[in-house]
Amino acid sequence: MWYYEKKLQYPVKVTECNPMLAKFLIEQYGGADGELSAALRYLNQRYTIPDKVIGLLTDIGTEEFAHLEMIATMVYKLTKDASPEQMKAAGLGAHYASHERALYYENAGGSPWTATYITAKGDPIADLYEDIAAEEKARATYQWIINLSDDPDLNDSLKFLREREIIHSLRFQEAVEILKEERDSKKIY
């Protein structure tokens, strides 16, 4: 089971209402390489992965939910004071018509989240390489959003999240080596 803790993993401040930035950020909420995809991908793989890396998948999957909450907080703060006109001008007119200011699991283009974003091959090496690629894609997405953003407070939180992707990728790469070592030692005996 999980326990909820009433705090963000890292503080989230936004300088001003900016629905256009929210539209870009939603990519990391309900997009292919976003935090929801990441959390569900890792936690789902845990059941059939070798014991030695179940802990890592559990912990990174759990941290991804903390990142999802940070993204949600950013989107909420960037849009909570936006007028319908501002939402429309930011390209969120269609979103507003369907969801008002509610958050929704969709990508920056407005397509809803789908399970086809994640895979579960059942082969531990294939699954872990998938995870490494996902982290690198998420890192790149954070960089593209930072490039589009002129909000210094928001960028501080986005840089924290970008750095976390690098660490996750590194840990997954170590997990691959652990499994290869285990596989090779079995071959000898």
């Binding site: 326990y3 909820y4 705090k7 963000l8 503080p11 890592l56 912990d59 909420y76 652990i178």
Partner: protein
């Protein structure tokens, strides 16, 4: 909607966020380096520090965790604002 929260809320919360970040980092590191004695010692020390900081925070600002991982005052104050996205 959240009321104004005192400066101390942010200060104490940030101390907790810093210590808990160290714990997340050490935890992930130890997941792939389970034999690092020094890292385990750091992990246990920071775990103790985190508990102390949270006890202090909770006495002033209410429970951080649900389902009984934190104590409650009367009336039940788990649902009180602010929630994390409101500050």
């Amino acid at each position: 909607m959240a009321k104004q929260v005192p400066k101390e809320y942010y200060q104490l919360l940030q101390e907790i966020q810093e210590v808990d970040f160290v714990l997340v980092e050490l935890n992930l590191y130890l997941d792939t380096h389970p034999d690092d004695y020094d890292a385990i010692e750091q992990f246990n020390n920071y775990s103790q520090t985190s508990r102390e900081l949270k006890n202090n925070f909770e006495q002033q600002f209410g429970p951080l965790m649900g389902f009984g991982a934190s104590y409650s005052n009367y009336p039940f104050n788990w649902g009180n604002t602010p929630w994390p996205w409101q500050v």
